[in-house]
């Protein structure tokens, strides 16, 4: 069994920091890689060693396989953790890591490759007896094939999906036969552009399902456990925003059934390490295999908090070849956990990314609150990368208490300089359908427009506060001028502006 002594984390932001925290606690050294704009990012400061791997554009840095392997060799790392995103589900990368004689902290390349193809994974699951959404077994070459398939499934609506898909790209819902041809061509075009692969297939469109996923962990000794579920139905444009564990709608029997199917799915593809089997869960309690994510998920903390486990630690142990240190019956789930993704987006302006420098930051804290953050005060939110700035996780004995705790924590969150999804999350948490636990993936589409307007403060109060602030600043401006002989604008020079000036000079 090979002991991992030094891990290169081929990622950035909060997930890099998350992984390094566990490594540090396990006495494992960490190597950060960073692009030229990320030198000041907190994931660099968190590491034991750091190497610059190229320009801001991910293709030339965080996706640069030769460069990353070169750093691993120079640093003497014996394992690579890919995090999520970037190269995490790139079979070629996993293969290259193994070929370089290093441990890849994830499943084997063949599994990644198999699960990366929607059609191939569907076929594998169908053969293994895992329930999948009714539809084509293979890719469809022509519109006629698609039409025949739709008829065979019992009609419309149907969904056309890219075989290589992800993130909602190359996907079209077709509600009427006459729309099929146009949607088929559009999906193929988009798939070709997004994934370099025009292959599409067709399946039954499930109306307003829940997105429920099962966390699994597997070792190299044929042990596979399911670590309960996560309900990730609060999504906007196929991006999860709020996740929770457990789901309010699963009975213990359904959980056990889905868990068993997830384990079956993992076995069917020879799965090792942490992974997630995603299901659509319809209003009648049927569930269908959607896809398998062959990596750690963004939302893994809700599982950790409820089960009292450290998934990154389990990943490292499994990668070293240890048998899992627990059995299915050892799990002791407790209470309820929620996660809100704090994205740098302007929710009142169609969720456009909000880039810029964070000028003030204070995370919430106290009982039942966990923060996994990728930023600090003075961090630059860059347009080059994912807009997720931090994850806020709350735990409590019951779901209602976890929700109230989340509201409390969201209100405590202080962040200046960028706009975030905090007001969006606050609005969702108070919606009766969210409270009921019965919401589906349609929630945001259905309710956000009406939620947007709610909860505005009293007009008199706002005006009194604004007047008091203006008065205070008028007085303070006068004081500043009088006592430190500052030009008025000078009072505005904050340490980060200073720093920017200093660094500007330094970089010359």
């Amino acid at each position: 069994m090979k002991k991992i002594r030094k891990v290169l984390v081929a990622n950035r932001g909060e997930i890099s920091i998350r992984i390094m925290r566990t490594c540090r606690e396990m006495g494992v050294k960490t190597v950060a890689v960073y692009s030229e704009v990320d030198r000041q990012s907190p994931h660099v400061a968190m590491a034991d060693e750091a190497y610059c791997i190229g320009p801001a554009v991910a293709a030339e840095s965080y996706l640069n396989i030769p460069k990353i392997l070169d750093v691993a060799k120079r640093a003497g790392a014996d394992a690579i953790h890919p995090g999520y995103g970037f190269l995490a589900e790139n079979a070629r990368f996993a293969r290259a890591v193994l070929d370089a004689g290093l441990i890849f902290i994830g499943p084997n390349p063949d599994t990644i490759s198999l699960m990366g193809s929607k059609t191939e994974s569907r076929k594998t699951m169908m053969d293994a007896g895992v329930p999948v959404v009714p539809g084509a077994r293979d890719a469809l070459e022509t519109v006629e094939d698609a039409r025949a398939m739709a008829d065979q499934m019992g009609g419309y609506p149907v969904l056309i999906k890219a075989a290589a898909g992800g993130g909602g790209k190359g996907m079209r819902t077709v509600r009427r036969p006459e729309d099929l041809a146009r949607a088929f061509d559009a999906a193929r075009g988009e798939a070709q552009k997004a994934f370099g692969d025009a292959t599409v297939y067709v399946e039954k469109f499930i109306e307003a399902p829940k997105h429920i996923e099962i966390q699994i962990i597997a070792d190299q000794h044929d042990n596979v456990l399911y670590l309960w579920e996560r309900d990730c139905s609060i999504q906007r444009r196929h991006q999860k925003v709020i996740e929770e564990c457990p789901s309010m709608v699963l009975t213990p029997e359904q959980r056990e059934a889905m868990g068993a199917v997830a384990v079956q799915a993992a076995r069917a593809c020879g799965y090792v390490n942490a992974g997630t089997v995603e299901f659509l869960f319809d209003s009648e309690g049927h569930f269908y295999f959607l896809e398998m994510n062959t990596r750690l998920q963004v939302e893994h903390p809700v599982t950790e908090v409820v089960l009292g486990l450290d998934l990154v630690k389990l990943q490292l142990l499994a990668a070293e070849g240890h048998p899992l240190p627990l059995r299915q019956e050892d799990l002791s789930p407790r209470g309820h956990a929620l996660e809100c993704r704090i994205n740098a987006e302007d929710v009142y302006n169609n969720f456009v990314p909000s880039t810029g420098q964070v000028t003030h930051l204070k995370h919430p804290e106290g009982p039942g609150v966990r923060v996994d953050s990728g930023i600090t005060a003075f961090s630059e939110i860059s347009r080059f990368y994912d807009p997720m700035a931090a994850k806020l996780i709350t735990w409590a004995e019951t779901r209602d208490e976890a929700i109230e705790r989340m509201k409390r924590a969201l209100l405590e969150f202080q962040i200046e300089g960028i706009k975030t999804t905090i007001p969006f999350c606050l609005a969702v948490l108070d919606h009766p359908e969210f409270r009921s636990g019965k919401f589906t993936t349609k929630f945001v589409e259905q309710y956000w427009d009406s939620l947007k307007a709610a909860g505005s403060a009293d007009a008199d109060l706002l005006e009194v506060i604004a007047a008091a602030v203006a008065y205070h600043q008028d007085q303070a401006g006068a004081a500043t001028r009088a006592e430190v002989n500052h030009a008025p604008g000078r009072a505005e020079i904050s340490p980060w502006k200073m720093r920017a000036l200093q660094d500007m000079r330094r970089s010359k």
């Binding site: 506060i465 604004a466 008091a468």
Partner: protein, 167 residues
């Protein structure tokens, strides 16, 4: 000391008197006892008639941008000097720029969905910008006619670059 406020379509006038380190604010026949302290950066703690409020506030010349309970508000606040100046020289805010569609963040123009001369409705998609690996639809702030398109597909834009003009 008098201050003149405007929020959305509301106008108001307040009178502020400092006494014992607190502010007595008179507005619409009501008195507010306000204790405001700065907490550093742009944060303020206010105790108004013993009710506690924490706000982030930035006073950008005459516009106070407030964040209260994670919601953002804007209030135009003029002191007497500024009010006099405005009454004399007119409100420069009235130079209406809202028909200029500018980039909300740096990014790359992916697709333009309107053409010069075209009628557009408020909220209608105008173009798509890619930033942070996401496609972002930019919608029209007003109903009107597209008079000018200043960008092309695959062109990089900086924050606040004007991209489309609508009248």
């Amino acid at each position: 000391m008098k201050y003149f406020l405007k929020r959305a379509d509301d106008f108001a006038e307040v009178d502020i008197v400092a006494e014992n380190g607190q502010l007595a604010i008179h507005k619409d026949g009501r008195n507010y006892q306000v204790d405001l302290v700065s907490l550093g950066n742009n944060r303020y703690s206010l105790v108004i008639d013993h009710q506690v409020y924490s706000v982030e506030a930035v006073n950008d010349s005459r516009t106070v941008r407030l964040v209260l309970n994670q919601r953002e508000y804007q209030v135009t606040v003029l002191n007497q000097r500024q009010k006099v100046a405005q009454d004399l020289f007119g409100d420069s805010d009235a130079d209406d720029l809202q028909g200029d569609v500018s980039a909300p963040m740096p990014g790359m123009v992916l697709k333009i969905e309107v053409a010069p001369g075209q009628q557009v409705e408020q909220g209608q998609p105008l173009l798509i910008i890619e930033a942070m690996k996401m496609e972002n639809e930019i919608r029209s702030p007003i109903s009107g006619t597209v008079t000018e398109i200043l960008v092309k597909p695959n062109q990089a834009v900086e924050k606040d670059d004007t991209m489309i003009r609508i009248e």
